[in-house]
Amino acid sequence: MTLEAAIRSHPSRLDGLDRSAPVWVLTAAVLALLILLPLGWLGYMSVSAEHGVTLAHYARVFADPQLQKALWNTVVLAFWSGLLSVAIGAPMAWLSARTDLPWSRGIRSLIMASFVTPPFLGAFAWVMLAGPNAGYLNKVYRSLTGADDPLLNIFTMPGLIFVVAIYTFPYVYIMIANTLGLIASDLEEAASILGANRFRVALTITLPMVAPAILSGFILSVLQALALFGSPAILALPAGFHTITTQIWALFHYPPKVEMAAAFSVPLLLATALLLLVQKRLLGRRGYASVGGKGAQRRAIPLGAWRYPALLGCLAVLGCAVFLPYGILAKAAFSRAWAQPLTWENFTLANWSFTFLSSSTQGAIVNTLELGVLTACVGAGLAALLAYVTNRKLIVGHQLLAFLALAPIVIPGTVLAVALFIAYTRPPFLLYGTLWILFIAYLTKEMPVGYSQSDATFRGIHPELEEAGRILGAGRLRVLREITAPLAKSGIIATWCFIFIGVIRELSASIILFTPNTKVMSVVIFDLKEEGQFGAIAVLGIFMLAMTFAIVALMQTLLGRDVLGQRSSGSPAGASAPG
């Protein structure tokens, strides 16, 4: 073949691009559209006036005492629940990673259960447990002591902080347990041999090494609390106060004040971005904390007489996060009146038949499953393509693509919903009122998790495996089909699972974007609360949890490791807001 013939038979001028090029370019375009369009609209709307631009919306938002109050409440909530998460998560991480704590695998599983529990379900359960009047714990307390006043009132700021923290501490736990797992015992023993006692070793060696992990766990918890809608809506609103997210939601009540919601969203967006930047920096400097690596020997520190008290402490926390809430949900699901004792007279299956047979809940379940499957399929596919493009550096600007794919992490669900509402209630994309706007919201929101998952998958597939196929005569798409895809399969299915779990529990964006015909399970749960239908809530909650656990089990089988370990290496994927 001559040079000319070679040029004719291979017209592409770009490295390794050939016939697959349009696929990669299209992927990039979809991603850019998905993220830049709504955020562009959000920014524009927050400064738009009838003529030109204005900062009036910002001025109005920040002058309004009610909004100021919401802002302050959010700061209080985020700070204290972050602190409480660290106070719970850090000792538990140390206990389960470094000591001979009994039953530590069971503890780890329960922490995982708390991790995947939708926070708004936990909040509902705690309404039933510690509501001032009918709360189960208060009833037990009254019958034991004869007192008239309730022991606990969950409808307070401390109550809210507590309920938020028991579902965000797993983020701290994961960060610290994984860091501790990387530190070789040698480092601590080197100090012991020089004469430091156990306490001193922990204080001068172990603690400084995990300090960046603790701080970044704190930031992750703060981010969770900032973005949360469900728990504040359930606990703060009856108590008579707002947070930023509930306030944004309230701004959408008739008549909707979209410009103000936009102006109120932008600071939340910036705060999240800033916190994540700080967290990333902390982890970037973590090099000295991850000394040792895989060869590190770890020996359990004996707790001695403290073994069982320590176990009891862990179980107490998990009791609050898992046992009590799950118990009360199960009780409510089978009771005529959830607050009454579980007797034969009070036993019923009516909640179940009501939930699964009534058309409104049925429709929501179908919507949720449809959206879950659709988003997970499209999301896993898109994430896989993106991760492939960025890992193999297939197009110019692939770093920008990775950045874009991870960018939604800084967008709280509520803010994303505001942005999507603005972007898709006008031409050329009129999607408001359809399931498609929810689909886009979920897809955008889950993209960071999906991308980090897929990225890890493709990073594990050596490029030489593909090159070996190319040089033997297979084109890029054929290599993708016959070599890459089979190797990436379990990783991609795991990505699918992550996205599906994220979608079926999503509340903070759905609550703004739903319309009567496009309700999803989380929204119905929220509605049922207004009607006081706690039995039906419990049934839906149990259904949601059962689905989640089934998927988690599937994922663990596929990956051969648990969901918590999955979030090692400080990937900010964990920051995607669940509520």
Binding site: M1, T2, L3, A6, I7, S9, H10, P11, R13, D15, G16, D18, H462, E464, L465, E467, A468, G469, R470, I471, L472, G473, A474, G475, R476, R478, I483, P486, L487
Partner: protein
Amino acid sequence: MPGVTIRGLTKRYGDVAAVQGLELRVEPGELVALLGPSGCGKTTTLRLVAGFLKPEAGEIWVGERCLSSPAAVVPPERRRMAMIFQSYALWPHMTVDQNVAYGLRLAKTPRAERDRRVAEMLKAVQLDGYGSRYPGELSGGQQQRVAVARALVVEPEILLLDEPLSNLDANLREEMRFEIRRLHETFAITTLYVTHDQAEAMVISDRVAVLQDGRVAQIGTAEELFERPRTRFVAEFIGKTNLIDGVADGTGTVARGRLRLRVASTDLTPGAPVAVSIRPHQIELAPRALPGTPAAPDANVLAGTVVRASYLGDGVDYQVRIEDSDVVLRVAGPAPPRVRLGERVSVSVAPGACVPLPSDG
């Protein structure tokens, strides 16, 4: 069977040129090793030949086909080449049979012939009976053989190997060197072999191209490179050597201080800086007290003192300080030692063993 011709090949990563103006010709059926330290551009060159990279300048020809130029790059799958990777790149989801048969399947070889050729090839690499195993169930050496079989079974025009032995342990590595040489003699495929291990390059190849900063510093047989290095870099990279920096004293002598060495050249420019390379095993030591065997009449004979002697079993590694100079020579002497630590010795080197190099090289 075509050869490979590379002309003026240049590849940049950002501002850094990994390969610049590289020239190389591989004769049909020849095995050429690309040898050099990390960062010399050897792997980049190989990947350019494979078509995974596009050059900024230059051309790669295989026989009458121009495969790469800045204007167009024939994709890897249409180059009729095979490659053996550092990681072996065996597909973990396919059995040994499926791995080896993959290239034949792509070439649409009929089923019966495919099976026959796969079986034959597995036999050639001493893996008959392993066809239904998965790569994960094989040892490192066996995986290596599968990778070889997968590359050879397609009867490629050109075979490329990228540090294929670097993941094996020392014993196996030595064994596989001979194995690869044997297979090359059997199949006689034009081959480019990348390695940073000079012993490996010397055992396996017909010729060795030493790469430095993206260029071929010198190409030749192992003997040529060892005996007649043309640059300081090549002299130091291939085998151990003593380098003495000096100035040409006449057309055939180099001076350093009061030291004079007759060298293997008669056309030096007097006054020009010259480095002299002397291999440790080409230096003879004799106790000065004894007259010993008389050195060749034209040999350089110097007086020195043994300042270190390390017994290595099959030889002795000496350091000898030359009198009236700052030069310390390493000398590989025979075992048992004929001279002792601290002993005054006479050092003789034939002029033919003193290879002059341009001092800046």
